[in-house]
């Protein structure tokens, strides 16, 4: 494959190196959580710590979603196919941070007022989008282990996990709709997401044309 030759100089990491990489990645991915926890305990999150936690957990959810979505394009561009072996952990960290975000909302914003929450989900479009994204992430996290992939079959598993595209879009919309006036940050997330999804669409289109050409040549 073309991609392979590009990475010819770089030997793919072996199982031990992948394990080391995973451990390092795990520790690094946990840093935002640990940093915020420390700041919370030291009362260093400013005048409104609950808002700070809500924003941080939401930001890190979006960041991990985008990093997860960046794996496939990175693989294609660099030929480093082993990157895919880090993807599950990144996706699960997105779920970890969204869970913190959702618990913060349930507990510290709504204080488990189920009526208020139901009302919010129906009536506030930004909550609707955020909640939908969270709900869609649950089956992905629940089917993230090898046995689930085997049970579902690779094709069906992959089809299910393509919902991450919708999750990413809903997540960015959630952020976009909640800011008061300055949309700079949601715009940055939207641009990166558009790039990551756009690359996929472009590659898919290239692939479709190649196949058409092949059919044409064969005929």
């Amino acid at each position: 494959m073309a991609a392979h030759s590009r990475s010819a100089g770089l030997r793919a990491p072996g199982p031990r190196q992948i394990l080391t990489l995973k451990i390092v990645l795990f520790a690094v991915s946990l840093l935002p959580f640990l940093w915020n926890l420390r700041a919370l305990l030291q009362d260093a999150l400013g005048a409104n710590p609950i808002e700070a936690i809500t924003h941080a957990s939401g930001d890190w959810t979006l960041r991990f979603l985008l990093i997860t979505l960046a794996i496939t394009p990175l693989r294609k561009l660099t030929g480093w196919h082993w990157l895919v072996r880090l993807r599950r952990m990144l996706g699960l960290f997105a779920f970890f941070y969204v869970s913190l975000h959702f618990i913060t909302y349930l507990w510290l914003d709504q204080f488990f007022d189920w009526n208020g929450i139901a009302h919010d989900i129906v009536k506030r479009p930004f909550i609707t989008a955020g909640f939908a994204a969270f709900v869609l992430m649950i089956p992905l996290a629940a089917t993230s282990f090898n046995a689930a992939i085997r049970a579902l079959g690779g094709r069906r598993w992959q089809a299910l996990h393509r919902s991450i595209y919708a999750i990413g879009i809903l997540g960015v919309i959630h952020y976009w709709w909640l800011v008061k006036r300055d949309i700079t940050e949601p715009l940055i997330y939207a641009a990166i997401l558009a790039l990551l999804l756009g690359l996929r669409m472009w590659w898919r289109e290239q692939e479709r044309r190649r196949q058409l050409q092949r059919v044409a040549v064969a005929n």
Binding site: A47, N48, I50, F111, G116, D120, R124, K180, R181, D182
Partner: protein, 312 residues
């Protein structure tokens, strides 16, 4: 009807004045001691000058004020940036002297007031007010200032004056936020004349007994405690009496979200979020938002017969 709701705070929640003052002094002294110990200086404590004499006001709430550090470090002042931490970092650059406020428009004696004259215009009162932000958080702030009516009387409004327009400073050199048209600069606000003349409406020149810092709208700002915080235009440079409802910055930016009146009203939601509750900074649980921010007894009559859903 909700606007007839009487008292705001149950007596059980009221801290006695002596106790609360004692606590404040303790907190301040401990804070200063701590700073001295650490050899640090805190923006806000180090630079602000104490106001010479401040008299108490019966219009103050007896609720516990939000700590000075929160009041001076968690601010919306978009001219300095849209992050709440931007104003404390950047507003120190704003040049506060010389400063004049032009008071003009439909009045018999339009004139400019130097800030030194404004500080002596009327006795400086301590007004401890609740402040409810449209975003859903609130503070209790011990403002120091004087009724806006005292200033307006100086220029003798004409009978044709129906509204007051407030214009705030827009200094390109010190305000990086002006480079982006997030709102129409300069920031403008407006009140109906009777709202402006109401005894609760003040021009604040300080808080916690010290002159205002840039992030809180130094050297002089509007405070209208029964309205959402953004109505309190900061760092005023012009006050104009007019006959038509003036354009206001947030109303221009999103008219369906921010009305001219913007009275605190738990029954009228922001189109994108609820206004029924608020987070008082420093508290864990949320509070129920009070009609007119708890000032209904004093101000509800200003809006008799008005549909507050329409005039939000």
């Amino acid at each position: 009807m909700l606007i007839r709701r009487p008292a705001d705070i149950p007596p059980s929640e009221i801290t006695s004045d002596t106790l609360y003052r004692g606590r404040r002094a303790f907190v301040r002294d401990m804070g200063l001691a701590g700073l001295a110990f650490a050899g640090l200086s805190l923006p806000g404590l180090a630079e602000a000058a104490r106001l010479p004499s401040v008299v108490k006001s019966p219009l103050s709430t007896t609720e516990t004020p939000t700590p000075l550090k929160s009041v001076t470090s968690y601010n919306n002042y978009y001219e300095f940036g849209t992050d709440k931490g931007d104003p404390v970092d950047r507003a120190g650059a704003l040049k506060l002297r010389p400063w004049t406020v032009r008071v003009e428009g439909l009045c018999a004696k339009p004139r400019s007031f130097a800030i030194e004259d404004l500080l002596k215009l009327a006795p400086i009162e301590e007004r401890i007010y609740r402040m409810r932000c449209v975003e859903g958080w609130s503070m209790v702030i011990p403002w120091d200032g004087f009724p806006l009516s005292a200033l307006l009387k100086q220029v003798e409004p004409l009978g044709s004056a129906k509204y007051v327009e407030f214009t705030t400073v827009a200094d390109e050199k010190t305000m990086p936020g002006l480079g982006r048209r997030i709102l129409d600069w300069p920031y403008t606000e407006g009140l109906r004349l009777d709202e402006a003349m109401h005894p609760l409406t003040i021009l604040a020149v300080g808080l916690y007994g010290e002159e205002l810092l840039g992030q809180n709208g130094a050297p002089i700002r509007l405070v209208v405690p029964w309205k959402y915080g953004f109505k309190g235009a900061k760092s005023l440079v012009r006050i104009r009496l007019v006959d038509k409802q003036p354009a206001t910055a947030w109303n221009n930016a999103a008219p369906e979200e921010y009305g001219f009146y913007s009275n605190v009203n738990p029954t009228v939601d922001h189109p994108r979020w609820s206004q029924a509750t608020e987070r008082r900074l420093g508290e864990f649980s949320k509070r129920k938002t009070l009609m007119f921010n708890g000032y209904a007894e004093q101000v509800a009559s200003l809006y008799n017969g008005m549909d507050l859903r329409k005039f939000f």
